[in-house]
Amino acid sequence: MSISPPQEKLWWNEPIPKSELIWIIVGFIWGLIMFFMMIYWHAVGEQNLSNEAYRITAEDFAARTNTMIEKYKVRDEAGFPVVHPPPGSDVYLIARLWQWWPILELEKDQSYRLHISSMDWLHGFSLQPVNINLQIHPGYEMVLTAKPDKAGEYGIVCNEFCGIGHHTMVGRMYVIEK
């Protein structure tokens, strides 16, 4: 039994039953397939998180964001500046207690280099309803190239607990047809 010492003292010499052998082989091959699937997706898939990131201070990141806002602001909305940067440019998004700043307006089917960093605590970038989720750290600037492929109004929910105002931390992003 499983609760008594093996009956056969040299249990490691016993042959493996066929049922187990088949299952081990199947499981092993499946493990290899799953491993190579991740690498394969880097080669042919379109949804891969970039490896680009930098250490940055909150002040520097805020300064860059403000430069972008001053240059490309098109209107205000509920106290947030709405920014329409040119396609292909670097766009900045600040995460802080408890805001996503500013509101970005992007064009459909255009690529943008999106920079995101936190001014204070950990935050979670959760773009809805497309459901793209990223962990945002203070002191680290994450850079990824995104190409919105559907026009519409998107919400940015914070999905990392960041204190008592966590549930009020909602941002917005527009993707417009051009």
Partner: protein
């Protein structure tokens, strides 16, 4: 001398049970169950708050209760019970006295003091930092200190376990190799040592930071090291509850492993390929390369997953073989139909096995894929996953074991046997709902750890789809079911321990025939297990389909690079 310590022979199993081990197992198990009751109650409050129509608690209380829920069930309940399992798997299964029982009591005291300190800190209201306590969220210093004391106590428990193995070997209380269940417990204890070391590396500096001696803790470093503690501790749970599956199958049905070699090898895979478990928590964090993520989440071949897949065959396989030996040989599934479904130890164990594999296992592998994590990270899908592993898997397995320990260790009969019989089904059904509905809500983007997904207080509102609210409501109803199952468990367990009818030697039921079923190993004597092969084929098909469905979902989001 302790060597002349008193023992008794358990009349039901023939196991030699030493007084010192027995008392420590009792103490650890009872305290574990008390904390399960507390933590479970907090959990119910969390689920009822997230049910939009009820929305029980105000925001401040919600995060406080969520912190208390996570710590009491995920840490305190499970680890106290695991210490009991370690002592059982060493002292009782090997018929040996426990090493240095006084130090074991000191470890017990440290764990208890730590657990109480954590709870006081959280309930005082300035330590709502959740289970993960990510910096720069700052808790009161005694929160971290409680965590540390608890971990030191647990570490002592591991070394008592190792010491007991040494004594058993020296005093020759068994012959040959340790039983499979003990072997599984050894893997759990080895992983526990690694886990607690990681915990010390991150919690000690954080404690010093909380009292002002360290000025800054990097958030990425914290998350990386924290998860080497936080997730590895789940690997302890897996090794422990799989040992419990084998244990229950052996005691209730006389099951023996199909082959010792394969089952032990599968446990060994957990140690060797204990993933650097932080990796799959960091798949969408900045500053970590894809190569590191891919290699460390999978160790190139998913060998720890292979270990679990093997147990997924060998546990039901050993049950099928035992049943076929008894003559239940008709068709593919007579062995399963005629299993002791009325015995809560067996039914609890089998439900735990199925739910852990189908819900917890598959979802865990899928969300641990580097790219697929983009559509799952920090959504409530994650919470659905780990309720399938930790509640349906570990907690239900431990509940099932409790039904065995009460007659065996506490020498009491179960009170309310009818309630006990229904409990695993009720609890299993509730947890299934909790897991599935939270996973469903997660695919619709609902965040975890969030007080109000109606986002009513936000300046820029966003509406989640109506289906998300429906799922969170169904989750609340499932939590009520699971809560009811939990309450029945607590009433039966605590009631039996204190008020159950004492089992005397004369009355002990001779369950002995089960234990007497012995057979040599070898494929010639192991019956084929066609029913189990069908079960694993169904599992594998589900796994592959679900895996690729999620790649399909991923392919629909914005192109990113």
């Amino acid at each position: 001398m302790a060597i002349n310590e008193q023992y008794r022979i358990c009349p039901a199993t023939g196991l030699r049970v030493y007084r010192s081990a027995e008392n420590l197992i009792k103490a650890n198990a009872v305290i574990a169950i008390i904390f399960l009751a507390i933590g479970g109650l907090f959990g119910l409050m969390v689920a009822l708050t997230r049910w939009k129509a009820v929305h029980l608690l105000p925001a401040e209380w919600f995060y406080l209760v969520l912190t208390a829920h996570g710590l009491n069930v995920l840490v305190v309940w499970i680890i106290f019970f695991e210490v009991a399992v370690l002592y059982f798997a060493s002292a009782v299964l090997l018929g040996c006295r426990l090493a240095t029982p006084r130090i074991a009591w000191a470890g017990f005291a440290l764990m208890l003091i730590g657990a109480v300190m954590i709870n006081i800190a959280v309930l005082q209201g300035h330590s709502s930092v959740l289970f993960t306590a990510y910096v720069p969220l700052k808790a009161a210093p005694h929160f971290y200190l409680g965590y540390i004391l608890f971990a030191v106590g647990a570490l002592i428990g591991c070394f008592i376990f190792f010491g007991t193995l040494v004594i058993a070997k020296q005093e020759r209380t068994y012959e040959g190799s340790v039983p499979l269940v003990t072997f599984g417990a050894v893997t759990a204890a080895i992983i526990a040592v690694f886990t607690i070391a990681s915990g010390a590396i991150i919690l000690i500096p954080t404690f010093l930071w909380s009292i002002g001696l360290v000025s800054h803790i990097d958030t990425l470093m914290y998350r990386t090291v924290f998860w080497a503690f936080g997730h590895s501790s789940q690997q302890i749970n897996v090794a422990a509850h799989i040992s419990v599956w084998y244990l229950i199958a052996a005691v209730t049905l006389g099951a023996k492993p199909l082959s010792e070699k394969v089952s032990r090898f599968a446990f060994l895979l957990y140690i060797l390929f204990l993933q650097l478990a932080s990796a799959h928590h960091l798949l969408v964090d900045p500053g970590i390369s894809s190569e590191w993520k891919i290699f460390n989440t999978s160790y190139a071949m998913y060998l720890a997953v292979l270990g679990s897949m093997i147990h997924g065959l060998t546990v039901p396989g050993s049950i099928e073989a035992a049943q076929r030996r008894k003559g239940y040989t008709n068709g593919l599934f007579e062995w399963l139909r005629k299993a002791p479904w009325g015995n809560p130890a067996f039914s609890g164990m089998f439900i735990s096995l199925i739910l852990f594999g189908f819900l917890g296992g598959i979802s865990g592998v899928v969300m641990g894929v580097e790219q697929i994590n983009l559509i799952i990270h920090n959504t409530i899908y994650v919470v659905g996953h780990f309720h399938a592993t930790v509640v349906a898997g570990t907690t239900l397995a431990f509940m099932a074991l409790t039904y065995l320990l009460i007659p065996l260790i506490f020498q009491r009969e179960l009170i309310l046997p009818g309630w006990a019989r229904a409990q695993p089904y009720l609890f299993g059904l509730g947890v299934t709902g909790i897991s599935l509905f939270m996973m469903g809500a997660g695919t619709l983007g609902v965040p975890r750890r969030h007080w109000d997904i109606s986002l009513a207080d936000a300046v820029l509102p966003y509406d989640f789809p109506g289906a998300a609210n429906l799922m969170m409501g169904l989750n609340g109803i499932s939590a009520l079911l699971a809560g009811l199952g939990g309450i029945i468990f607590i009433v039966v367990a605590v009631g039996s321990v204190f008020f159950g009818k004492r089992i005397t030697l004369a009355e002990a039921k001779p369950d002995k025939p089960e234990a007497a079923v012995v057979a040599k190993y070898g494929s010639a004597e192991t019956p084929a297990v066609p029913g189990t092969m069908v079960l694993v084929a169904v599992f594998f098909t589900t796994f592959v389909l679900y895996y690729y469905v999620n790649w399909k979902y991923l392919a629909e989001i914005w192109p990113l690079r």
